[in-house]
């Protein structure tokens, strides 16, 4: 009842179209609608008709079968708008492309118009079947991007809500601080005045003026000191706030992966390259030791010394793997076989001399070009 919209306040003489009881007789009457046919009826009618399972709408001429579970309170006064918003909710849920996903603003605008057109079709019941089919197709093809965009939207909404609550809290604190400060000031002023009066009462009449002047001066000084203090605090707060907003801003990401095809419904979508799936970390930069085909690792090598070890369960229990031993030995044995140091040196020398030659070549080419022209 005490929702954000508060309780309904409709005319006194509003009548339930089904049971004809009016608000005048039953002030607590609530009206419900069913998004199936949007016919309005009062709560007691809903209870009476639909408690025992689905039944047809009691409004004359409407043959729709309604269920009790789907009855809900009406948000908008205008039933047409209510229905439109319901349809819109469904369509927007599916066609939820974001502006970032489009090549140009124009393309995005075209998309918006197209969406609007589809909603209008559904609302005005023109081409319903075709539009529905389009929607279905789009939804099935683009299920991933729809999900992704929904997630982003949710994230945005929640971060916005968090920011709002934080701001409200800050404002409340500031308000409180201002009030306290005012109060302090007043109290100080009062105390100062009382102090002055007591000193005046104690002191001789000769220096009364001096005491009064002094008291006044102290008050002035205090207030100016307070001002500067206030300035400092404010500056600090402002700096803090600045850093906070910076942090808040960076947390929002708009990573998005659009599906390669969108069912052909929407044009002008930006081709977004899906990033390569991340590979496991490769410390040898593509160098695979096993690939060197100087040798092939056998499952076992006959050796009198090793055969004993192979069959001994105690070594296996300690984690000693004979396979590892084989591979290590073989790598060590063949290490350096693929390297030809002489060749590499020659290559390096050729590269450095080539670099030295290049500028000369280009200048001569440029000169030649100049001659030609």
């Amino acid at each position: 009842m005490a929702s954000k919209n508060g309780i309904d306040r409709r005319d006194e003489d509003e009548v339930c179209p089904v049971c004809k009881s009016s608000r005048y007789l039953n002030p607590n009457m609530r009206f419900l609608i069913n998004p199936e046919c949007y016919h309005k009826m009062c709560e007691s009618c809903v209870d009476r008709i639909f408690s025992s399972g689905p039944s047809s709408c009691p409004v004359a001429g409407c043959r729709k079968t309604l269920r009790k579970a789907r009855f809900r309170a009406q948000t908008f006064e205008d039933i047409g708008v209510e229905r439109e918003v319901d349809i819109r909710r469904r369509v927007m849920h599916i066609l939820n492309r974001r502006e970032e996903e489009f090549d140009s603003k124009r393309a995005y605008d075209d998309f918006l118009e197209q969406r609007e057109e589809m909603i209008a079709n559904l609302v005005h019941r023109t081409d319903v079947a075709k539009t529905e089919a389009q929607l279905q197709k789009y939804a099935s093809v683009n299920i991933q991007s729809i999900r992704a965009n929904q997630a982003i939207e949710e994230q945005e909404a929640s971060s916005f809500a968090a920011r709002m609550t934080q701001e409200q809290e800050e404002a409340r604190l500031r308000r409180q601080a201002a009030r306290e400060q005012l109060e302090n000031e007043r109290r100080e002023m009062q105390a100062g005045r009382e102090d002055m009066i007591s000193r005046l009462a104690a002191g001789s009449s000769a220096d009364a003026a001096a005491i009064a002047r002094e008291g006044h001066k102290v008050l002035l000084k205090k207030s100016s000191a307070r001002r500067s203090e206030e300035d400092r605090i404010r500056q600090k707060q402002a700096a803090l706030r600045g850093s906070e907003t910076k942090r808040g801003g960076s947390s929002l990401t708009t990573a998005d992966t659009a599906g390669p095809s969108d069912g052909g419904l929407i044009k002008g979508l930006r081709r977004i390259k899906t990033p390569e799936p991340e590979k496991p970390y490769d410390p040898f930069m593509g160098y695979v030791p096993e690939k060197r085909d100087y040798y092939a690792l056998q499952p076992s090598y006959p050796s009198t010394y090793l055969d004993r070890v192979k069959n001994d369960t105690r070594t296996a229990a300690g984690g000693y793997d004979l396979q590892e031993y084989y591979s290590r030995t073989l790598v060590e044995a063949f290490a350096g076989l693929g390297c030809f140091i002489g060749e590499e040196v020659a290559q390096r020398e050729a590269a450095t001399s080539g670099l030295g030659l290049k500028p000369a070549a280009t200048t001569s080419a440029a000169m030649a070009a100049g001659d030609e022209s």
Binding site: K4, N5, G6, I7, D8, R9, T75, F76, E77, D78, G80, V81, E84, V85, R88, R89, M92, K105, R106, Y108, D109, D110, F111, L112, E113, Q114, R115, E116, E117, A120, V123, A157, F160, A161, M164, A171, R174, R175, A178, L182, R234
Partner: protein, 796 residues
């Protein structure tokens, strides 16, 4: 009278000038030379307007740039007065110079005041006149006529097209009346003549709103060049004008009308689709291309325009989901329905635009972007549909403007939803206040665009408040005192009644019978001793009513009736003007009258009580605002957080500017005199916040008086004032002739020289020159006869 300020020859239309006028002109010239904005406070009734005009006109004519003057004032009568002053000034210039300068000055006011069409001008409401005028003068109506359709046209407007477009009216100064007469003679529309002649005018005089209200400014003041000199006269309320121009109130009724308007539009679109689908298609394709700006529609046809939008946004194309007319209508309907839903609350809600937008999006899927373009899209649609009866769409336009504003500004605005009119009401009458909290938003375009903006009024103290609130840096801030040959007004602060009990309108004791009785005796005593009219200001209608009824019970009113007639201001404008009329009659004959009015009402703002219409003004209580109002609270908080103006500082500033405005009502010139009484204990500490000219005239001994002391002071004062006073006595002191100015200049120069030389002499020990110049400075008291001798002594 002709004199020079630096190298600028100024022609002043009177033979004598006040010293403060001279100082004002000097400072004004400095500001114009430097460029930048200034805040000048000049006592009321010292000829602010004429000095301003004569300096700026001289400036215009002397320098080759011919910078245009835009003079903004508050009310019709002030505009008319300024035009009359200007006319007199130009006449004087012609006489002095011996030839007529090429000069054009026009005033602009609403269609209602300038219409000549025989049937349209009889309409009473301004909006009806506007709408009917549009239906007779819009561009498409003319096109229809040319196509041979049977439509009515305004003959006055049609005749304008026969004239040269830059010479619709001959050069010269036209008062509003003059323009009407000229229009009648030549059968041409005064309103459109003025509008179209604006680019060719040297001086334009119109109301604040034409420059500040973004909805109007866009249309009227767009073509003004950057080097214009903008003057805001009577600008002490400028922050409120700025705020009001961007605030919108939406009631349930206006929403209902907006719905009706939307349905009408829908019907019109259907009609047009069947008859003239091409036009809609044209509009659509224009919107697709984002070319709405390129369209050459006559600007006066426009029915609404954009509230301040960033320029880059204006160039952007309209979002796709409101491009088609029918989509836009369904969009509007949804928005209106949403607002209706929000209206059904039982408790007050205040929220920021971002949170409103989120809730809106949750419920109706309306996003921020299309909302921003709402006003513009509606304008375009209305133009395409060629609607005739535009006044029906006023509420719809309001909703659209609201939509645009709420989506454009995150900060500086607040939405307040009040379900009940007052605390005690049980019948809901919800109103959605969309309130601007930041005065700087509306005035910022003006300040940014023009090099020199002059903000001036009789009461602007404390001066530093205005630049702070409006967000600019003033190159010149000056408050002028009033030079007087005799003490012609007597400001006093009464803090106690005759029984030494303190008087105050503070909430705790305002209904205390003792306080009310003391206020009553104060008024009775002043009614007894003051000749002619007395004006009394109360902080609010509510307080005034309660105090009057208590006085009635105490028999105080009966006593006052022995001396004067009592008249009361009411919220109703017609009743008040009748009361004012009666008051004036009573002041002109008989023993005078007392006008009881409210410090924030109509009387306190625009109506002068010069001479016998006001010999005493009593300010009963400090005119604080009603601090429980949500809107005020929001604004105070905004000021505290963004401009670092503390709540109490602002409230007290606001109260004191209204009090000063009230006091200024009785003194309209130097030969006028009057008593000013501030009757509240709290005024004693707020004295520094009064304008300099009032503050200076207040003796320290008169800041803490009881009723009987104040009465005896006033008695003395009035007796002195009753003595004959010759105009000659003022000469040289509070009015200057040409010789006085020259003497002043010479004195200033020698003073400067002396300082220079002293610095020089400090280095070089040259006493002789210092002595000789110092001799001239000694001469202080002079007579007209020795003027010439003195001039010969001048080093020039």
């Amino acid at each position: 009278m002709k004199f020079f300020i630096d190298d600028l020859p100024v022609l002043f239309p009177y033979p004598r000038i006040y010293p403060e006028q001279y100082a004002y002109m000097c400072d004004l010239k400095k500001t114009l030379d430097v460029g930048g904005h200034c805040v000048l406070e000049m006592p009321s009734g010292t000829g602010k307007t004429v000095s301003l005009l004569s300096l700026i006109v001289a400036y215009q004519q002397h320098y080759p740039e011919h910078r245009k003057l835009i003079y903004c004032s508050r009310t019709m009568s002030e505009i008319e007065k300024a035009l009359a002053e200007l006319k007199a000034l130009m006449k004087h210039r012609t006489q002095e110079l011996g030839f007529e300068e090429e000069f054009r000055a026009l005033g602009l006011t609403s269609r209602k005041n300038l219409c000549l069409h025989p049937s349209v001008k009889r309409e009473k409401s301004g909006t009806v006149v506007d709408a009917r005028c549009r239906s007779l003068t819009a561009g498409f109506v003319k096109e229809k006529k040319e196509r041979g359709e049977e439509v009515d046209l305004c003959v006055y407007h049609e005749n304008l097209d026969l004239l040269e477009p830059h010479n619709l009216v001959p050069p010269g100064v036209f008062t509003l009346d003059g323009l009407l007469r000229y229009g009648e003679e030549h059968k041409q529309c005064p309103y459109f003549s003025a509008r179209r002649m604006m680019p060719w005018c040297n001086v334009i005089i119109y109301s604040y709103h034409y420059l500040l209200d973004p909805k109007i400014a866009e249309r009227v003041s767009r073509e003004l060049s950057k080097d214009c000199i903008v003057v805001f006269d009577e600008a002490h309320n400028i922050d409120n004008v700025c705020i009001e121009s961007l605030s919108i109130d939406i009631s349930e009724d206006s929403l209902r009308k907006a719905t009706r308007g939307a349905s009408n539009l829908e019907r019109k679109i259907e009609e047009m689709k069947s008859t003239d689908a091409e036009k809609l298609q044209n509009e659509y394709s224009k919107l697709v291309e984002g070319l709405q700006q390129a369209e050459q529609a006559r600007e006066e046809d426009q029915f609404i325009s954009n509230p301040v939008l960033p320029d880059d946004l204006l160039k952007e194309a309209v979002p796709g989901n409101i491009r088609r007319a029918e989509h836009f209508i369904s969009f509007l309907k949804r928005f209106i329905e949403y607002l209706k839903t929000r209206m059904k609350v039982t408790h007050t809600i205040s929220e920021t635009p971002p949170s409103f937008l989120t809730h809106l999006k949750d419920l109706t899927y309306i996003e921020r972007k299309p909302l921003r373009f709402c006003a513009e899209r509606l304008t375009s649609l209305v133009r395409t549909l060629e609607l005739m009866n535009i006044e029906d769409y006023q509420p719809l336009q309001e909703v659209a403007t609201f939509a645009t504003l709420v989506a454009t500004y995150d900060k500086g605005f607040v939405l307040i939803l009040e379900p009940f009119e007052s605390e005690a009401a049980t019948v809901p009458n919800p109103i959605l206040h969309f309130t601007c909290l930041d005065a700087a938003i509306a005035i910022k375009p003006v300040l940014d665009r023009f090099y020199s903006v002059v903000i001036t009024s009789g009461t602007l103290s404390p001066l530093e408040m205005y630049p702070k609130m409006l967000g600019f840096n003033a190159v010149m801030q000056e408050s002028y005192s009033m030079t007087l040959a005799r003490r012609s007004f007597l400001p006093m602060i009464v803090t106690r009644g005759s029984d030494q009990a303190q008087v105050s309108s503070s909430f705790g004791i305002r209904n205390d019978p003792g306080v009310v009785r003391n206020y009553g005796t104060l008024l009775t005593e002043f009614a007894r001793i003051t000749p002619d009219g007395i004006v009394v200001f109360f902080p609010s209608y509510l307080y005034m009513e309660s105090i009057i009824s208590m006085w009635q019970g105490m028999g105080i009113l009966d006593q006052i009736w022995n001396y004067k007639l009592i008249l009361v201001e009411t919220p109703d404008a017609q009743e008040s003007s009748l009361a004012l009329e009666t008051y004036r009659t009573a002041c002109c004959n008989g023993r005078g009258a007392i006008l009881l009015c409210v410090a924030r009402g109509k009387v306190s703002e625009g109506i002068d009580f010069d001479h016998h219409y006001g010999r005493a003004v009593l300010c009963i209580g400090v005119p604080f605002q009603y601090t429980e109002s949500r809107i005020l609270k929001a604004r105070l908080e905004f000021l505290r957080e963004n401009y670092r103006i503390r709540e109490n500082d602002f409230l007290s500033f606001d109260a004191m500017r209204h009090a000063a405005q009230c006091l200024g009502r009785v003194l309209r010139g130097k030969d006028d005199y009057g008593v000013m009484v501030l009757a509240d204990r709290r005024f004693e500490r707020k004295r520094p916040q009064l304008p300099k000219w009032i503050n200076q005239a207040m003796l320290d001994s008169e800041t803490n008086l009881s009723t009987d002391m104040a009465v005896s002071n006033a008695k003395n004062f009035l007796r002195t004032m009753a003595q004959p006073f010759k105009a000659r006595d003022q000469e040289g002191i509070s009015t200057w002739s040409l010789a006085d100015i020259e003497r002043h200049e010479a004195k200033r120069k020698t003073e400067e020289e002396r300082i220079m030389q002293q610095q020089f002499a400090n280095g070089h020990n040259m006493d002789g020159i210092v002595k000789s110049t110092a001799m001239e400075v000694v001469v202080d008291e002079f007579d007209d006869d020795i003027d010439e001798d003195l001039m010969m002594l001048d080093p020039k």
